[in-house]
């Protein structure tokens, strides 16, 4: 399975990532729809819970991550459909690039997309649920990045698999959601701590869990992804 | 003296705290276990491969 590598892994990742982001930029309409979908989700939570601002503020971290999670399924599902429409994945496979570069570029692209989405959602969440970021923007962005990476790595592998199966729209969330429950739990808890302050020093262990999750799934994805897209 | 008394009171409290009865839960649990095991065995029996071409004795 190992091919000769005329271009280095890193260079291939950069080129592929640039290509994906360019496609993302050229299909802005889809991107906008994604943003409004997640905003609507955020809004819907407040309707589902009712106008109890205390309750909303207490659960703000969880709602933010659920909105991001729902949006991520749409974003991830699209990331390989783009390739399938014109059979460009075959082209990528035949290119003298490592298959692992495809994984890294796709997963990084999805991470960038989700972090961007999260960066848009956080101010809205602050306004809508009446919370304030006690620990500051730095930890908030750090948790956002870690959480989005945790969704993107297994999400990319599963999206490549589900894309070629029957009932792919059901299969992707069915496989992904139970898998990332621990990451979701850790990200939501850590976000709540960042928002409400961390008197008992629990932020460290939740971030540690997120980092461990990322290490395992970026590693596994890197190793296993070539087998997923091989012929 | 007092320790003996304390021990007896403790034991009495533990005895009082014991959950009484609850056999309906036990029967429900064993029933579900046996039912699911037998149903699965049945489903395996229904799905058993039948050698139509080669095997003539069944």
């Amino acid at each position: 399975m190992r091919r000769s590598r005329p271009i280095s892994l890193l260079k291939a990742v950069v080129v592929l990532l640039g290509k994906d982001l360019l496609i993302e930029w050229r299909t802005r309409a889809r991107l906008n729809a994604l943003i409004f979908f997640s905003l609507a989700t955020l809004l819907l939570f407040s309707f589902a819970v009712g106008p109890d601002t205390k309750l909303l503020a207490r659960n703000a971290g969880g709602y933010l991550w659920l909105a991001l999670l729902f949006a991520s399924v749409l974003a991830l599902g699209e990331s390989f459909r783009v390739e399938q429409e014109n059979l460009t994945l075959d082209g990528l496979r035949m290119a003298p690039a490592d298959a692992r570069a495809i994984f890294l570029s796709k997963a990084l692209g999805n991470t960038v997309l989700l972090v961007g989405l999260g960066a848009l959602l956080i101010p809205v969440m602050i306004a809508l649920y009446g919370v304030k970021v006690t620990l500051g923007a730095g930890p908030m962005l750090g948790i956002l990045a870690l959480g989005c990476m945790a969704v993107a790595a297994p999400g990319t592998v599963y999206s490549a698999i589900a894309n070629n199966a029957r009932a792919r729209d059901v299969l992707l969330p069915l496989m992904l959601f139970p898998l990332i429950i621990p990451a979701l739990l850790a990200a939501a808890k850590a976000t709540t701590l960042v928002l409400q302050g961390d008197p008992m020093n629990q932020l460290g262990s939740w971030s540690g869990l997120l980092i461990g999750f990322n290490l395992i799934y970026w590693g596994l994805g890197f190793v296993l992804f070539p087998r997923v897209i091989e012929d | 003296m007092s320790t003996v008394l304390e021990t007896t009171t403790l034991l009495a409290q533990v005895g009082m705290g014991r959950i009484q009865g609850g056999w309906e839960y036990i029967w429900a649990a064993y029933g579900i276990a046996w039912a699911s095991l037998s149903l699965y065995a049945l489903s395996l029996w229904i799905r058993r491969p039948i050698k139509a071409s080669r095997d003539t004795k069944e």
Binding site: A165, P182 | V14, G22, Y25
Partner: protein, 275 residues
Amino acid sequence: MSGLMNAVLQYGSAAAALVVVGLGIRLGRKWAPVDSQMDARPMLVGMSVAALVLLAVGGWLGLVWSPQDREMGDVYRIIYVHVPAMWMAMLTLVLNFACCVSYLLKANWKTDALAEASAEVGLLFGGFGLVLGAIWGRPTWGVYWDWDPRLTAMAIMLVTYTAYMALRRFVEDPDKRAVWSSVVGIISFANLPIVWFSVKWWRSLHQVQSTPKTVDPEMALSLRVNAWAFLILLTLFLLHRYRIALATREAEVALPDALPPDAPASRDGNSTEVA
């Protein structure tokens, strides 16, 4: 009951279970393949009888012979089926993981078939084990679902493996199904420690669930006999399911495009009740 009886039950059940596992592996090699001419009926009957006898003895030990628990009264008797079921579920998950890794290293239909069998049988044991855990929770904690870390982690793993089985059902190409489900199996199993720690920490913020650990020797004997009985059942189920998986694969390979939509349909309806 005398000490002799005790020892006979303890070692007898263990020996019976190990013999059955050995026979199961042998039959899996010789009898399960589609072109096998082996007449396995005497052995299969013997194994099934061993399973039923041990299950009956285990049930009697658990329901009648074991004394009441100091705190739980009679209700604790549920653990004699709940705990072995959970053990078997864990065992099948490990087996499934081993098969997935082995398939990616060296493609082999038999490994793939065993992976399918172990996932399905594991879902069965895990599924009813979980329900039993919930039933146990009602009289002891007052609610069916208390977010006990062990039960919660098991529930998450069960959903994960349901997705694994769904994937197997949704991919028609046998080669791709085997590779992809192996990847998903490895990824799912790697989640086990993370799920465990996250759920444990998540719960510890609320309260620490203390489960009383008072195991009398009599209780240990009942638990052991039941666990061996379940191991025999597990072996039998795996063996038969493995044989079915091999036969299905044979049909798929033998008829490459004659009836692709029909061939999987026969399996579709049957394995759903497990989830």
